[in-house]
């Protein structure tokens, strides 16, 4: 299937939106993990 220029442009904008959503989700998981662990994040055996 041959996509038109407009369709390619829209697909690119969708891909960028998906990338942002995934990055935001990763950031959310990271921040909540930090909040839940609190100071215990440093408490681990070496």
């Amino acid at each position: 299937m041959q996509l038109s220029e407009a369709q390619k442009k829209r697909r690119r904008s969708r891909s960028i939106a998906i990338a942002w959503a995934l990055a935001a989700m990763a950031a959310l998981f990271f921040v909540v993990t930090m909040v839940r662990l609190g100071a215990n994040v440093m408490n681990r055996p070496f």
């Binding site: 299937m1 996509l3 369709q7 829209r10 697909r11 904008s13 969708r14 939106a17 989700m25 959310l28 998981f29 921040v31 909540v32 909040v35 839940r36």
Partner: protein, 316 residues
Amino acid sequence: MSDTSLGFTRSEYESSLAYGSGDVGDFFALMKPRVMSLVVFTALVGLVVAPGTLHPVIAIAALICIAVGAGASGALNMWYDADIDAIMQRTAARPVPRGRVSADEALTFGTVLAAGSVITMGMLVNWVSAALLALTIGFYLFIYTMWLKRRTPQNIVIGGAAGALPPMIGWAAVTGTVSLESIVLFLIIFIWTPPHFWALALYRTRDYERAGIPMLPVTAGPDTTRSHILIYSLLLAPTGLAPVFIGMGGILYAVLATVLGVAFVALALRVYTRRKGREAEKAAKKLFGFSILYLLLLFAVLLVEHVLDGLTVTGA
């Protein structure tokens, strides 16, 4: 779809049918952003009035999950209802009937968001609120959209439970439980839903009729619908006051709930008595508009009272 009365032309429609036509805005529209905002607001109130504390970051995570879960419900509803959405004037410009997003894309989008929001809620907040979120999405899709909507005039009475669950999810995000207070918040929205949608259906009857949706004005006629609206309004007024009796609402809430409840019944009475012509349509439109304001104000006052209480306690 031969003219531009629905906001788009036939050539626009045909050229957009190919895969990958939708832009980000179309997918956002699939999530029913206006419904989503009301869902997030009522969930926020449940979250704030619940006893106990929740770290602000986790509270924000909970609200994001609820918003995405609500968006998933909207997308899945638009996937399943694309055929009747195309017939109804109010919904014909939605992304799927318009051909901007294919039904398969809407289904995939909704499924990914539904699974993602529930799993994220469980992992980041707690599994009780995640289970309630899953119940909300499932109820809206399977019970309301697939089963009741096209079969019974009681569709929005029973299906209204899905829209009433968000404050319960917010409450469970903090407490990890379901309790009487959250059930009261659920009941307010549950009883509010029928008169809200029947007021809309009264002046959109032809639309529903054409689409074959058995809304009460279509199956039982406008006069029976008016009686039902009045009965539910009479039930809603005291239900709106219930938070006062269980200690969840204060004096400000009691006063506002009384005034708003009386106004709701007065507008329902106007719908009941004005049965013909433009006056009847005007009365139904007024009740529909006021019903949104009613719920918004009632929950806003609960929110304000609890925020002020929190500030007083912190100040003391």
